[in-house]
Symmetry: C2
Subunit: 342 residues, 2 copies
């Protein structure tokens, strides 16, 4: 009998498809599919040495004495050349106007869309970086998050990483993206509302309760350190989905403290290294889910990183019903990930 | 400047990515990718002639004098061999019990999961069938929909079709699926709620208003007949997404009248034939969106078929923000589809 489970934070139901369950081995990418890339690609727009005069650099961490726009960077944030959203014109109001076109509503695609180039080296990825290198990526994330989240023009800031073609990545060079939009999507509105309902009823943060449950039950734990815990959620939408959550209550990603950066880098690196080694570098997305600063969601939302391996294709069932079918048993996925040596 | 548009029925915002917009030609499958399949495959479980003694047949339309389980069927509905949900045991209560496991909620995966084998011929598809053949598929859909929707054990019945590997199809043989679940997913709850809000405010069905707007503006129309209209929605989540909607107000798929079956078959066939010929048989999902019979959503929900070509890969942006980026301009998509001769 399949089991249907609910994620108490998102209220999404997920079918754990015991009748069609697959073994961890069934998800491994074949070794042949794990293409090797060179450390430098002369055609890559992100490789060190391929900078062009006049390249804009929004933020960077670089070697002492080097200048923005030139070589010598460790991590840099640049504008996306094909932005989904574009900055407002100088002098524009920070309120993005809604317009009516007959019965329909539309607005200008105002926002920011930035690329975090995570390393000067073409064939690195978070899983193969040093903790110091990952720390610089996290510092760049937070630096930009703080700036964009506090800008009253933006109502939603998302940080995400697409790794591999099945995850929608078009560039091999290690990079993440940051987007700021002038609207609160339904998605976020409902996530905040559900967290608030839980808080109303029990007076506790649903994420804090999940952490307590996972640390007590242990069977879905992947790893933990002094500041963070990584676990496969009870009702994961994606096979091998893994959440990294701060152990202490932190509402937004802006609450991350300077001393949290190293432990976060370590756990993010280690979890991704487990995927990299244990499943032959699978394609994945991750995104940082955070309450916006203005939502006054202090006691009830709790930021976290959601890692979503792209091992299956959502089909008509998922799209039509909004219910996911997960063909990996969460407890077995966690055990498999726990046991991978890195 | 990209434009952000809202779908008034779903309240989802979609970015129409003018800066990265693609031409219709960019989406065409290469001719080489459009593999030819044989009319009969000795290994296919769905081909006529491959029936096995004892095969269960839930419903069929067949040649006079032929018997269930044997050759001679035109369309048949059979149990899914790898069901995501399984029927309740005889004597079980129709109320599927929720159980607590610590803080988490779960329940048995009770439901139905059926396959509609649409043709005895291996290499047919809706786009290449006769209208009479498509009508039989629609009759089978409605027959099963009526039975499952009225069964008090089920709260959601979805009918969907996965066409091609990118749409999650694992079998080439033409088929659709019907699933009945014992829960109302968030997804549906919100869709009904938003339709109700619109009705509360304006006293009209939001779908009826969309039809009126599309027929008046004409630029997103794909085609129409005396009973149905096909259009690209104002804010499509998928490039070339197309909705087929009954012109008269019909709340649930059960409201489809016997005399509607032929015009529905004709428009579904013709729209899919346009995709088949104009874009070289692209992968797609479609699903029938309908209010459940018990929702008393009579005046405000309006069933429709949502056709979703799978031409792009949703990545971290879409998953993280819940906002889609559509790289096809809806008005241009509709014009392209309108002009394809079938």
């Amino acid at each position: 009998m399949p089991e249907i489970r609910e994620n108490p934070a998102t209220k999404r139901w997920v079918i754990i498809a015991t009748e069609r369950a697959k073994r961890p081995e069934d998800f491994k990418k074949s070794i042949e599919a794990a293409i090797e890339h060179p450390a430098y690609d002369p055609k890559c727009p992100f490789c060190e040495g391929n900078e062009k005069p006049g390249d804009e650099e929004i933020f960077s961490l670089r070697a002492p004495g080097t200048k923005p726009g030139e070589k010598g960077w460790y991590v840099k944030v640049i504008p996306n050349k094909f932005p989904a959203l574009v900055p407002p014109q100088a002098g524009d109001s920070i309120e993005v106007k809604r317009h009516k076109s007959g019965m329909y509503l539309h607005m200008d695609g105002v926002g920011k869309h930035e690329v975090v180039v995570e390393s000067p080296i073409h064939n690195k990825t978070i899983a193969t970086m040093s903790i110091e290198e990952v720390s610089r990526v996290i510092r760049a994330y937070q630096e930009r998050y703080m700036v964009l989240d506090w800008d009253p023009a933006y109502k939603l800031v998302i940080i995400f990483r697409n790794h591999g073609g099945k995850a929608g990545a078009s560039q091999v060079h290690p990079h993440s993206q940051i987007a700021a939009a002038s609207l609160v999507p339904l998605h976020m509105r409902y996530a905040l509302m559900e967290a608030q309902r839980y808080y109303e009823e029990l007076g506790r943060c649903v994420f804090c309760d999940m952490i307590k449950a996972e640390l007590a039950e242990k069977e879905r734990l992947v790893m933990q350190n002094e500041k963070f815990v990584a676990f496969v959620p009870y009702a994961p939408v994606f096979p091998y989905e893994t959440w990294i959550v701060p152990l202490g209550h932190q509402t937004t990603f802006a609450d991350l403290q300077p001393e949290d950066i190293e432990p976060l880098s370590q756990i993010l690196h280690d979890v991704l290294a487990k995927f990299y080694r244990g499943m032959n570098n699978p394609d994945y997305n991750y995104c940082i889910r955070s309450a916006p600063h203005y939502s006054s969601s202090g006691p009830y939302y709790h930021w976290h990183i959601q890692i979503m391996p792209r091992l299956t294709t959502p089909a008509g069932f998922e799209i039509g019903s909004g219910i996911s079918i997960n063909v990996a048993l969460p407890e077995e996925s966690a055990k498999f990930l726990r046991e991978i040596k890195i």
